[in-house]
């Protein structure tokens, strides 16, 4: 019978909990990171790669990945690109505003299973946001992994996020960071081109690598295929998929991707479960 964790708290699975916007940081012209903290009830701490449903009251509710965790007080960070009504409302929310939160949902990056492997993190555009907590976790447990490599692709230098952090990581001897952009002004000193180009240069032992990838679907497909070609076991290539989502608990049916519910079976999937599906158009 119903084993509903929410039963104990008296909430339905679709009832949000109130969080307050604590801080707001403009990452890019259209992208904002908000830090939110529980007003009273506190949700379970999320794993890197999981997401939450954020509700802008009267506007709507959408899935947003965790882009960072606070320092133990139950704070959550979310990095949101304003593309429509709800994201706009969240991006323009002010410090002190209340939003509704449900979650955390889904399967995260599961770095535990990468212990002993080289760890390759590949981000395209906004995809860096859900990968940031993975990066932070890897850094916090640096000894558990072999090489740690971060490859970042962006449209142009101006649309790179978390620039200061990237700079800091770039300065560390125990991580390799490479950044490429699709188009760049002459002043740009980094790589130009799609992120797949960086793969061959990634200083990892492909046969013993776990790769976590997030970005637009095509980018993930090429990266995953490229990594598989180079010998990364398909089960160790993990992608974070995106689908329209209304409930995040497998009731609304929107996020189906073949046999998978992206909300509860994902959003992070190994490449061996995605490869065939991603080749089917309009799947």
């Amino acid at each position: 019978m119903p084993a509903d964790s929410d039963e104990s708290t008296g909430r339905g699975p679709m009832t949000p909990v109130l969080y307050r916007v604590e801080a707001r940081h403009q990452e890019l012209a259209d992208t904002v990171t908000i830090r939110i903290a529980p007003v009273t009830e506190r949700l379970t701490d999320p794993e890197p790669g999981q997401f939450e449903m954020l509700l802008a009251f009267g506007v709507g509710e959408i899935p947003i990945s965790i882009s960072g965790l606070g320092d133990g007080g139950g704070e959550l960070e979310h990095t949101i690109r304003s593309v429509g009504a709800v994201t706009k409302a969240l991006c323009t929310s002010a410090v002190g505003d209340l939003i509704g939160v449900r979650g955390p949902y889904g399967v995260g990056w599961d770095l535990d299973r990468a212990t002993g492997h080289d760890l390759l993190i590949v981000a395209g555009g906004l995809g860096l946001a859900p990968l940031r907590p993975a990066m932070l976790e890897a850094l916090a447990n640096r000894h558990r992994f072999g090489r740690l490599v971060l490859l970042v692709g962006a449209r142009d230098p101006g649309s790179l996020m978390f620039v200061e952090e990237l700079e800091r990581w770039r300065g560390r001897f125990d991580i390799d960071v490479a950044v490429t952009v699709d188009a760049a002004p002459p002043s740009w000193r980094g790589d130009v081109g799609v992120v797949t180009k960086l793969l061959s240069r990634a200083p990892v032992n492909f046969g013993n690598t776990t790769a976590v990838v997030c970005g637009p679907e095509v980018m993930m497909r090429f990266v995953a295929a490229g990594l598989a070609d180079r010998g990364v076991p398909p089960g160790q290539i993990r992608l974070s998929m995106e689908r329209n989502m209304r409930c995040a608990i497998g009731h609304c049916g929107h996020c189906q991707l073949g046999p998978e519910f992206v909300c509860k079976d994902g959003p992070v999937f190994p490449w061996d479960r995605m490869e065939k599906l991603m080749l089917v158009r309009e799947r």
Partner: protein, 368 residues
Amino acid sequence: MAMMLSLDAVAALVDHLRNDGRKVIGPVLRNATISLDEIDGVDDLPAGWTEHQDGGSYRLERLDRPELFGHATPALPWKSWLYPPRTMLMRANRDNGSVTIEKPTPGAEPFAFFGIRSCDVHALDILDRVFLDPADPTYTARREKLFVVAATCARPGGTCFCVSMGTGPAPSIGYDIALTELWAGDRHEFLARAATDRGRALLGRLEGRAPTEADLAAADHLVGNATQNMGRQLDPTHPTAAAERYEHPQWEAVARRCLACANCTMVCPTCFCSTTEDTTDLSGAVSERWRRWDSCFALDFSFLAGAPVRSSTKSRYRQWLLHKLVTWHDQFGTSGCVGCGRCITWCPVGIDLTAEMTALALDPGGPS
């Protein structure tokens, strides 16, 4: 526990259910169909009516005797009572920077489903797998209190194929009481079997006699007949064969006919998809979230980053059929189809999933 009931005893059965405070939902004549609605007593049942069902067509027909259950599946699915077309999820009141969230308490009136067929009972079992974990409050509250009086199908419809799906025609799971309508000449009786304590308790309150061997044989015979008379069939190996034929030309063929009207999903007893809508009052202080039935045939359903993922009708029909018959197994350990045939009958252009599946399975159809 089994018992033979007269029509009066069946009437008393309905009365008891009502007197126990249940809303009794059953088949009724409505808008030239056998539909579903609340009934006040057996008199509301479509006695003496059956129907002819075929792809895209449904016509009522008269029977020459007043059978209560002489029809096949009703026009609409039972799911509406457990999973209403619209449900409020929450209401938020905003006032000066503070927000209070109200969660509606699911109005849990106890229901009884009266005369539900085995395929539709199996459909409830399938919905349970969707909505009981994690628990949807509305569904759970209503489902837990539901009393199920099933009826054995004597006259399967022209689009029925429960035998192929292993879901009928005789009720096998999920009922409190199952009735089999029997005629011996003019004698009109019902073989009632109870499968739960509350079913047995309720039968215990009725007058009746013990069934004879002949009664039981008659019931078996009726089931045997119905089994022989299925209007359609679906080869259980076909879905597996067709599972990965994503680019089969048959998808294009069906898409030329398919209206993407969503009737098939709306009438299907197991289709469960929904969407949410946020509404605000004019002051903006009160906002509500509603859930309403949605369909994989709606364009918006797969909207993502500027465009629907499944924009062609081909891909939407493919999603529906493959979900129903193939991926449902991966997700819920069962087929999503119980063979009730509604989607065939109620498709305005008569698209028949059994025929589509056969076409997909029999011909590899070029590269998949």
